[in-house]
Subunit: 233 residues, 2 copies
Amino acid sequence: MSTAQGARARARLEVTTAIKDEARRQLAEEGAAKLSLRAVARELGMVSSALYRYFPSRDDLLTALIIDAYDSAGEAAETAHATAANTTPLRRWVAVCEAVRVWALDHPHEYALIYGSPVPGYKAPDTTVRAASRVGLLLTGIVRDAHRTVGVARTPIPAELRPEAERLTAALDPELPPEVTMALVAAWAQVYGLVGFELFGQFNRVVEDRETFFRYAVSRIGHEVGLVFPEKA
Amino acid sequence: MSTAQGARARARLEVTTAIKDEARRQLAEEGAAKLSLRAVARELGMVSSALYRYFPSRDDLLTALIIDAYDSAGEAAETAHATAANTTPLRRWVAVCEAVRVWALDHPHEYALIYGSPVPGYKAPDTTVRAASRVGLLLTGIVRDAHRTVGVARTPIPAELRPEAERLTAALDPELPPEVTMALVAAWAQVYGLVGFELFGQFNRVVEDRETFFRYAVSRIGHEVGLVFPEKA
DNA sequence: TCCAAAGCAAGAGCACTGCTCTCTTTTTAG
DNA sequence: CTAAAAAGAGAGCAGTGCTCTTGCTTTGGA
């Protein structure tokens, strides 16, 4: 019939997302280690071997979940950025960072999957790389915008880092001063260090008021990047 | 006989360390997910059930490896600190951070185990907590020493963070100014963010000269903590 | 010195896992 | 209408963590 071809494809897509949803549920509840293909199939009322028609292996299912997690985190960050669109670059910077933190606290196991450790056979397809850089690009955009409007402060970099800074600037955003690019990349990593430490319990008997602490730390990092004009628009 | 009692205990200790060594080997080769009790027993020429006399479960074995990993990392950091004993606080700071990075690159799976994600049943016994804070205490010591000798710079903290800073200072090192304590805790997390990003591949097509980059980033973090006199002794 | 108690190794077995293979049924496309 | 492709079902393999029972050895106290 006319929609026959589409019917199959649609059914396949439905089953695929059903599998991923159930897998995500188990991931959120028990963690990546306890995620079981057979349990997913069981819950969906299908036999385990049928699941292999959709994902050739457990690692492939995990990879799909990783990509989705990157997208989910990126979307949360972008939403926060859109909400804070009409404010200072520094405020937007903090807003995006806070969104990442909240997302991580809401999805701890997914965060561990993407920023914790390369659990499966440690491969990173291009799709993964692209999805992974979404938050990074967002932060870069904030700094670029600040550079265009109110300007950014430059902290000198050592001579030995000059070539790296030039190369990185060309790849990331040729518009930005190399000193700022360098600081930006470092800042990105540092923000995730803060999130990871809180999430993985390193702050357990150390930091109490974590939200306030995070805002403080992330503001300082933003300042380090060159976002030094918090009052101007 | 006289050493009979000691003989048993010694044998037990030998077997225990043999198990841990073999487990660590498999951990280094394949990662925590692939670490198998049966494979460890097989490699040691013993039957799998015998292994349960030494470790009541797989998670307990992993926990033991985690504690050892914390100790190993702490020792590497302390050695680096001792080597740089007669230099500037900032130089010592950088040296310790670099030692942590090198250790992490040499033991990626162990690093993932302790700073990546709480793989097992997510429990943190007191022994773990103590071992975990070793590097943190070392960094605190460097800052304290700087405070006593050349002095540290203070960056003001927001009023809402004041109580947290007071409490934290009392717990960590009452001698230090609260502003510095706050910056120190943040710095600690940020350093691990840098290490984790490099280790887990987030710098893959981004940063090339990672050693130089790390030294730069970590120096700036040290500066942020208040280690601002790199030339004085 | 002897002997009960504790420590330890071995083996069988259970429930579970990822994954492969074969067989049958259904759906698609020429 | 029919050949090919896609999907489901079931059995089965090798591996896992873990438990239980059975014997053997070492230990510490009477």
